[in-house]
Each structure stands twice: as structure tokens, then as C-alpha cells.
């Protein structure tokens, strides 16, 4: 089974990379990781013994390939999964604020393993990563950092439509209230929720 998910971290790419590459600190801030021991680290490759915190303890020895500047590739050398491959690709957020991590995870598990539970636990693990990493890197995205986004990089990316600027030169995000006349009465949608006024 495989999943592709994007998470947004409100910090500059360099800080995110720094934190992700410090494998031995993961158990301190990532709830999904029970323990981690770095076995070796040389020439852009790191090998770690990791225990994922799920309803059952999942042990694995993972090899991390750090040779590409903006991609972290992990694969299981031995462990609980039949196969485990995970790529983390870092890129600047399209709005220029923060970093996007594109996670591509492919796993195979044994026939007798509870697929539904593992699926749900791995999903929770990824959701926890987003919250935990944002908390860990709080403050690593000051106003001066935002303005330091290079103009060359900004020109290369497709620009969002020009919107009125608000505080700190960020576009104003608006909410909407939609009202429809229906047979039941006035149907009002606020913040995505539907109400009927009879």
C-alpha cells in the first residue's frame, strides 16, 4: 500500500532539513517515534534502528540517503515490514511562507498483519509529524525570514493572483457567507456549515 501526502511546516527549508537530519532527536519531539539509535552515519548515508510508536511496537532498521540536498530517502534494510520505502521531498511553499514536505510512502506488510490498523497508525504518525515539527520549529519563520525569500525563486514559481495585502504584506484570506433561496427556506452556509432559516 502507498500514500502520498503533503505537510506544511511554518519554517524555512534549512531549519526543517536540519531538524529532520538530526535523527537522534526524533524521539524527543515526534510522538510517533518511540526510540531511535543511529548505528552509522557516513558519506551521506545513515543507518538507524527505529521503533515506531503504534498499538504494536514496530521495529525497523532504516537506511537514510541524504546525498540529495532537498530529498531524504529512507528504506528498510531489515525489520517488521516486508518492504518500507519513504521519500521526503522538501520545497518552498507556493505562497513563499514556509516549507512543504511531499511524503511518498510505500509499504508492504505480511498477510496476517492487521492492514487497517497499520494503515490508520501510519496515517496518524504522519499527521503527528506535521504538528510536532511545527511546534519544534516555532519561531523559525520571523518576518525578516519571510522577506528573505529570494526574488529569483519567487519569479520561477507561478505567482498566485494579486490580492489585496493585509498585515505583513500577506494576502487577506476572506471567509464567505453564501445564502440560497430554497423550498425549505433560506439556506445559509457559514464556514462550510449549512443552516436553514425557515
Amino acid at each position: 500500500m502507498n500514500v502520498q501526502k503533503y505537510i506544511k511546516i511554518n519554517a524555512l527549508q534549512e531549519y526543517v532539513l536540519q531538524e529532520l537530519r538530526a535523527f537522534d532527536t526524533w524521539p524527543q519531539w515526534w510522538p510517533g517515534v518511540q526510540s531511535l539509535d543511529v548505528i552509522k552515519s557516513e558519506n551521506g548515508l545513515s543507518v538507524v534502528d527505529i521503533v515506531f510508536k503504534t498499538l504494536i511496537a514496530i521495529n525497523a532498521t532504516l537506511e537514510f540517503d541524504l546525498s540529495n540536498e532537498n530529498i531524504i530517502k529512507a528504506r528498510q534494510i531489515q525489520g517488521w515490514f516486508k518492504t518500507y520505502n519513504c521519500d521526503w521531498e522538501l520545497q518552498q511553499a507556493p505562497d513563499g511562507v514556509g516549507t512543504i514536505i511531499k511524503i511518498s510512502l510505500t509499504v508492504e506488510i505480511g498477510m496476517l498483519a492487521p492492514k487497517g490498523m497499520i494503515r490508520s497508525q501510519l496515517t496518524q504518525n504522519l499527521n503527528q509529524l506535521e504538528t510536532a515539527l511545527n511546534k519544534r520549529l516555532q519561531g523559525k519563520m520571523s518576518l525578516s525570514d519571510r522577506k528573505a525569500v529570494s526574488p529569483e525563486t519567487a519569479e520561477q514559481k507561478p505567482q498566485p493572483p494579486v490580492r489585496q495585502k493585509g498585515v505583513g504584506d500577506l494576502p487577506i484570506k476572506r471567509k464567505s457567507i453564501n445564502i440560497f433561496q430554497t423550498k425549505e427556506g433560506l439556506e445559509i452556509w457559514i464556514s462550510g456549515r449549512r443552516y436553514i432559516m425557515k
Binding site: 500500500m1 502507498n2 503533503y6 487577506i172 484570506k173 464567505s176 457567507i177
Partner: protein, 183 residues
């Protein structure tokens, strides 16, 4: 079980396919006009492919991510990502499309929306219908008014929360108003 809903509307003003395509591909701003979308954020964009995250509380309890493939100016196809899929098995996530075609009856454009989702047909049908209704409202407007006003009180917690935003847009059949908060 998948429920496939397919609906269409006619836009009879002189609105081009490109104008409609632009609105439908402005993913970060879906929350400004799609009734069921409370929050929308673009996560990645490369060429004709974009990924965005949405929160639609009537459709799903949690936020969800969609990958869009855009074929300007005729169609947009989307499917949900961020959920585990098994090779060879159909996805159970949300998917759908927008098609923008020239009307066969004189001038005008037809928008066809399709949504496929593992949920009850009534909710998917309602949400798609309201999205098309909102598009129809948007492209039928002749004027937009912008006013400054103090937040209205005593209309319920949801309205009060919404009014805390710097600006809100109110869509009522026939017109659109933008309200700016007075500080």
C-alpha cells in the same frame, strides 16, 4: 460503494471558458466562494498539476488533500491523496472533475461538475449543486459593492466567528458584498 454525481449549469453571460477556468483553478481561494469550503490552502504547484488542502465540514470531518490536473481551458480532474491506496484496487477517496464546454445553443458556456465519494448520495449531490449555484451567482453578477461596517452581533456563534476576519464576502442571489472590518 461509490456514488457518482454529475450536474451541469449554463452560464449565459459573455463569460469565456478562460475566465471560468481561472476561478476553478484558483484553489487557494475556494473558501471565498464555495459554500461548503471553510478553508483552502495551496500546497504545491508545478505546471498543470497542483495540490491543495481543504476543510469541508459537511463533506468530511478532517481536512483533506486533492491533486488537480488542469487542462486549460477545458477541464480539471481531481483526486484525493494523503490516504493509503492499494495497488490494483479502486480508490475510495474523493475524486471528480470540472468540464467547461461551449454551449450548443448560441453563446454561453456550460460547466459540468462531477463528484465521486464514498458517502451518501444526497450530501454529495447537495454540495456539488451548491458549488454550481455559487458559480452561477458569481458569473451572473453585474456589480460588486464594497462597504465598511461594524461587525453585526447576535446572529449566532458561527457568524460572529466569521465576522472576526478582516474581510468577509456575502453572496446573496443577485449580488455580492465585501465587508471590511473597521479597526
Amino acid at each position: 460503494m461509490l456514488f457518482i454525481v454529475r450536474l451541469k449549469i449554463d452560464i449565459i453571460n459573455n463569460i469565456t471558458k478562460e475566465q471560468i477556468f481561472k476561478v476553478l483553478t484558483d484553489f487557494a481561494y475556494y473558501a471565498e466562494w464555495m459554500p461548503d469550503i471553510a478553508d483552502s490552502t495551496i500546497l504545491a504547484q508545478e505546471g498543470d498539476i497542483a495540490v491543495a488542502e481543504f476543510f469541508s465540514p459537511e463533506l468530511m470531518e478532517e481536512k483533506y488533500q486533492l491533486e488537480f490536473v488542469c487542462s486549460k481551458p477545458d477541464s480539471i480532474i481531481y483526486k484525493q491523496i494523503g490516504i493509503f491506496e492499494e495497488t490494483g484496487k479502486p480508490s475510495l477517496g474523493l475524486s471528480g472533475s470540472w468540464e467547461i464546454i461551449d454551449s450548443t445553443e448560441g453563446s454561453g458556456t456550460v460547466i459540468i461538475g462531477e463528484m465521486n465519494f464514498k458517502t451518501n448520495e444526497k450530501k454529495t449531490n447537495l454540495i456539488l449543486q451548491r458549488r454550481l449555484d455559487a458559480l452561477q451567482q458569481m458569473f451572473s453578477l453585474t456589480t460588486t459593492s464594497t462597504q465598511e461596517c461594524n461587525p453585526i452581533s447576535a446572529l449566532g456563534t458561527q457568524i460572529l466567528e466569521t465576522m472576526q476576519n478582516e474581510e468577509i464576502i456575502v453572496w446573496i442571489p443577485g449580488y455580492k458584498s465585501i465587508y471590511k472590518k473597521v479597526n
